[in-house]
Assembly symmetry: C2
Homo-oligomer: 309 residues x 2
């Protein structure tokens, strides 16, 4: 086996503790060599108050993984690339498409790896759904992504601030799967975005897509779902139906073996990052983010009741 890769993890919040740190600790191919956090790090790992200090003090760490909200991420990614480090970005890869294009160009010029991750694409059932759809003619596809924002983003004010994406923060996970499993690209034809009267980002959205073969493709995202949570993609084709549920983890289809298994999204993201770094290449697919930007551009805004935690 190759020498383990050293990574500094920036932003020690919920997603870092729930996903990044367990994935890194379980993988002999990776060493969590430092953290960057103003609110405390991880036992036994050197913590820095800010990224410039870490970049200065630890030239031995070749990879920087950014688990911070999209708005501050650009400056950090640009600084890390500028210091010759490989960079892995939590989804979405930035607050704007233009900054993602700029980072891609910077990484290419610097000869380092940039990996814009889409963790939901690594869910168990996604590859099976893609294979199944590739052999069939799509008639109808419906994305239903309904969850309780209070449960999954408790007190996270940045999601309600302009640029925080609101319900598109989980919704972009659905779009990352959709753009992965569909054989032909779709584009948004209509969108309605529901904004709470006291918030700058939407709490719900309905999207219709135009499909080159004329299939009906639509999505509904809602952050007001209490009780059971729903992260489903259902498709009807000329040869049966399929359902990808649990955020991509479970695949069921007529005439195909079921696929499911325990969560392995972040372990697979880090495995992919190790491959990219060793191969000296980058992976930046902005298609899910293009659909989000298109929804904000094309979408009709509806004001709905105020949201308070």
């Amino acid at each position: 086996m190759a020498e383990p890769l050293s990574v500094a993890l920036v932003g020690i919040g919920k997603i870092a503790r729930d996903q990044h740190i367990p994935a890194l600790n379980a993988d002999p191919d990776w060493t969590l060599a430092a953290t960057v956090s103003r609110s405390g790090g991880v036992d036994g790992v050197e913590n820095f108050a800010d990224l410039p200090q870490m970049l200065e003090a630890r030239p031995d760490i070749g990879v920087v993984s950014l688990a911070v909200p999209p708005v501050p991420r650009f400056a950090m990614a640009a600084a890390a690339i500028g210091a010759g480090r490989h960079v892995m970005l939590e989804k979405p890869p930035g607050a704007t498409l233009a900054e993602c294009h700029a980072l891609s160009a910077q990484a290419q010029a610097a000869g380092v790896t940039l990996h814009a991750t889409w963790h939901s694409r690594m869910a168990h059932g996604v590859a099976a759904a893609k294979e199944w759809l590739a052999e069939r003619e799509l008639k109808r596809l419906r994305v239903t992504w309904k969850e309780d924002v209070r449960r999954w983003h408790p007190g996270q004010e940045w999601i309600w601030q302009a640029g925080g994406l609101g319900v598109f923060d989980p919704g972009i996970n659905a779009l990352s799967i959709l753009t992965e499993i569909l054989p032909a690209p779709v584009h948004l034809s209509r969108a309605v975005l529901d904004f709470p009267g006291n918030r700058d980002t939407p709490i719900a959205a309905e999207l219709d897509f135009a499909h080159p073969g004329g299939a009906e493709v639509s999505a509904v995202f809602d952050w007001r779902q209490e009780g059971p949570q729903t992260w489903d993609i259902e498709a009807e084709t000329d040869a049966g139906t399929m359902r990808l549920s649990d955020g991509g983890a479970t695949f069921r289809a007529e005439g195909a073996a079921p696929v499911e298994g325990p969560d392995r999204e972040y372990p697979r993201l880090y495995a992919r990052m190790a491959e990219l770094v060793r191969a000296g290449t980058s992976e930046v697919d902005l298609a899910p983010m293009v659909h989000v930007a298109d929804a904000f551009t094309l979408g009709r805004r509806r004001v709905v009741e105020p949201f308070d935690w």
Copy 2:
């Protein structure tokens, strides 16, 4: 001189009569061979009620120019490319970025020319401003685009409908110049969009951009400007100041000869289209539209007083 190119012009509205038709009539390199319009065409030119009829009846016409609003444009462009025609798109090239990517891919696969035009880039002073800025270090740049919507878009309801872009319809002209003249790309860092309470698109916008060299780059778009109209880009550098005014037509700078002249934007767009068709290549730069999509995604929404004609 090469054989003139035959073009069908689709959408005989204000922009067609003010710009496309005079440009085509004055250019011996082009023949306006047909129009497509439900509300009447041009004396002496065959008119069709819809595009499919024209594509069927006139296989001799190799080029289709689309001067219709962005929302219906995709289906028309896809049909024209599907019928093996070269396509020229009014700005903006589509209602969504995803559909522009899809058209580019379709045109490439079909081996036809796709030209996403940005008429303001063809204004007299733009090339001089680009050259002047290329040799200097930018300190501050300010875009001021203030016009009277009642004067320039009288009764055009589509500009207020979701997807119609509102004040970004003229604002994207400013962004097309900005992205052309700046030596290094910028990305949006903050935006405030003012929506009239009774409309789905903004009537004004303030944009701040991050510049790789730390220059202050900002833009203000406003559709409520009565009296004198303003379409200016002013820049301060380490070696003097410049002003590009009248929508790019007039260039003035310290230490440089002034540049100005009569409007020649659409004649130059058709000249460029002829070059592209004969060279068998396409030109689709989505950078101005990326900034618009980023502004809708990142922008804070402010509700302002209702707008009525």
